[in-house]
């Protein structure tokens, strides 16, 4: 599903964010990418959604070589990869429903179809009852669930979660991880970028540990090893 072969990313001449990364993630996997701040986790996310291009190496997603993806093809890629972030990235002046529908509107989806899809994804994240609430009327966990719902509207094959629980308390963190597991159970590949030890140890799934831009370890049922 996701293949990185000898991928490096440099910013300028001196700053090396990733160095010669090679990794494969299969369809339906739930992979945690761990590492301390500045180890290249976010750069990896940016490379996967083609926000950045690798300096060297090759990246393919579902057999699609996105190493030198054309600007016009990026929207198509992003409809196949759902992304959520620590800061939720919701539009403050739109309700839950409108925030989720927005992703479909800008993709040119018909209004009738939007009305069918949005309640369905809100149901998956358990937010149907708060469909008319604005972001400021929701808790952090609920806002992240809206973001997850929005990322699911295109039925992506991959969901990339970049520190999704960074701003959440323990209870909300647990809820979000349960939703990600639920999404994974539908067959969606989940790439969870985190430095939360409890989450990683609780998941007991594959763990890729990054250190100084390189892969330090890659274990099928790994634990959080970084100090």
């Amino acid at each position: 599903m996701i293949n990185l072969h000898g991928v490096s990313k440099k910013y300028g001449r001196e700053s090396i964010a990733l160095h010669n990364i090679s990794v494969s993630i299969g369809a339906g996997e739930f992979v945690s990418v761990v590492g301390q701040s500045g180890t290249g986790k976010t750069t990896l996310v940016k490379l996967l959604i083609a926000e950045e291009r690798p300096t060297n190496g090759k990246i393919s997603i579902g057999g699609w070589d996105i190493t030198k993806i054309r600007q016009s093809e990026i929207p198509l890629l992003r409809r196949q990869i759902g992304v959520i972030f620590q800061d939720f990235k919701l539009l403050p002046n739109k309700t839950t429903t409108e925030n989720v529908a927005f992703a479909l509107e800008v993709a040119g989806e018909r209004t009738k179809r939007i009305r069918e899809i949005v309640p369905r994804v809100l149901d998956i994240v358990g937010l149907n009852s708060k469909s008319r609430n604005f972001p400021h009327q929701l808790s952090g966990g609920e806002q992240q669930r809206v973001a997850i719902a929005r990322s699911l509207v295109h039925r992506p094959k991959i969901l990339v979660a970049d520190e999704p629980t960074g701003n959440l308390d323990a209870i909300n963190t647990h809820e979000i991880i349960e939703i990600l597991k639920k999404i994974n159970s539908f067959g969606t590949t989940v790439v969870l970028v985190t430095h939360n030890r409890e989450i990683v140890n609780h998941l007991n799934r594959r763990v890729i540990s990054l250190s100084e831009g390189t892969i330090m370890s890659d274990e099928e049922q790994g634990k959080y090893k970084l100090t």
Binding site: P75, R78, R79, V83, K89, V106, G108, R110
Partner: protein
């Protein structure tokens, strides 16, 4: 496709609403730019019409000696007519010249009495020559200045009108230069304001733009609203400036009608050239707004 189009329009209207004061400022500056261009056009039209009127009044009078024979008159007339630029040659006979003289000085009996003292008709025949362009009179003057015609020609007049035309042309050129400079200044201001408008609009909507890119919106969905905004702002500005121009022409025309000898010069021109004027100005303003907004958007549209 139609759904997407309406959504882009919806987003652009929302953007305009959020940055309403800046949008108004942009419309104002674009309107001033168009009005200054229209002023330039109006000044040009009026001066051209004025010069045309003056040129029509200019002619070259060639006064022949009373002793000139009919055959000599005919030969000279043919020579003058052979100059391609000559539009019309009218001969005033000795008798007609005398009648015209008497009519011109009928209120001055002493002059008429002096004429009687002379006895015989002292006036010779005269040619009144017209060309399309006053500059061409030089060619006729050159012709009749040849020594072979020295015994035929008493005098000629035309120098003063030439100076008048040169003065008008100079004044017109200065006015047009000034109007052009004003238009250029408004153009620069318009570029700056439009650029700022779109920069501010894009800055305030950077989160929305980021989310659009994140969820897979194509460039049309990101650029489209700003394109539509540019079209809306340009259309409103053009509408206001054309309205102002129409009102101005209606107000100005009566003042120029007696001078130019034609009523509704500007109004008629605007009516008959409305598509050309509006089309040209629309293309210019659209190019200005679209180009400027594209420049402002550039950095936000990278992947």
């Amino acid at each position: 496709m139609l759904t997407s189009f309406w959504r882009v329009i919806k987003f652009s209207l929302l953007d305009l609403g959020r940055n309403f004061s800046l949008a108004c400022m942009t419309i104002l500056v674009l309107t001033l730019l168009l009005i200054s261009v229209n002023t330039l056009l109006g000044v040009r039209l009026i001066t051209q019409a004025g010069i045309k009127v003056i040129k029509q009044k200019i002619d070259l009078s060639i006064y022949l000696k009373p002793s000139v024979t009919n055959n000599e008159i005919k030969i000279l007339e043919e020579k003058i007519k052979s100059i391609p630029e000559v539009k019309n040659v009218r001969l005033t006979s000795r008798e007609q010249a005398l009648e015209d003289f008497k009519a011109q000085y009928q209120d001055q009996p002493e002059i008429i009495a002096a004429l009687s003292e002379v006895g015989d008709n002292p006036l010779g025949p005269a040619f009144v020559v017209k060309t399309d362009d006053p500059k061409d009179y030089e060619k006729i003057v050159l012709l009749i200045s040849k020594p072979e015609y020295a015994n035929l020609i008493e005098d000629k007049t035309f120098a003063d009108t030439q100076t008048a035309i040169e003065n008008i042309t100079n004044i017109t050129a200065r006015i047009q230069e000034f109007a052009l400079a004003i238009s250029f200044l408004f153009g620069l201001i318009a570029v700056t304001i439009v650029y700022t408008t779109f920069r501010v609009a894009i800055y305030t909507e950077r989160l929305e733009i980021g989310i659009k890119k994140l969820v897979g919106a194509n460039n049309w969905f990101i650029r489209g609203p700003y394109l539509i905004e540019a079209i809306i702002l340009s259309t409103i500005s053009l509408g206001i400036s054309l309205g102002a121009m129409w009102a101005a022409t209606r107000a100005i025309d009566p003042y120029f009608a007696p001078l130019l000898g034609q009523a509704n010069l500007l109004t008629n021109y605007l009516s008959s050239h409305i598509l050309l004027v509006a089309g040209f100005e629309y293309v210019v303003v659209l190019f200005l707004t679209i180009f400027t907004s594209a420049m402002a958007m550039r950095q936000y549209l990278k992947a």
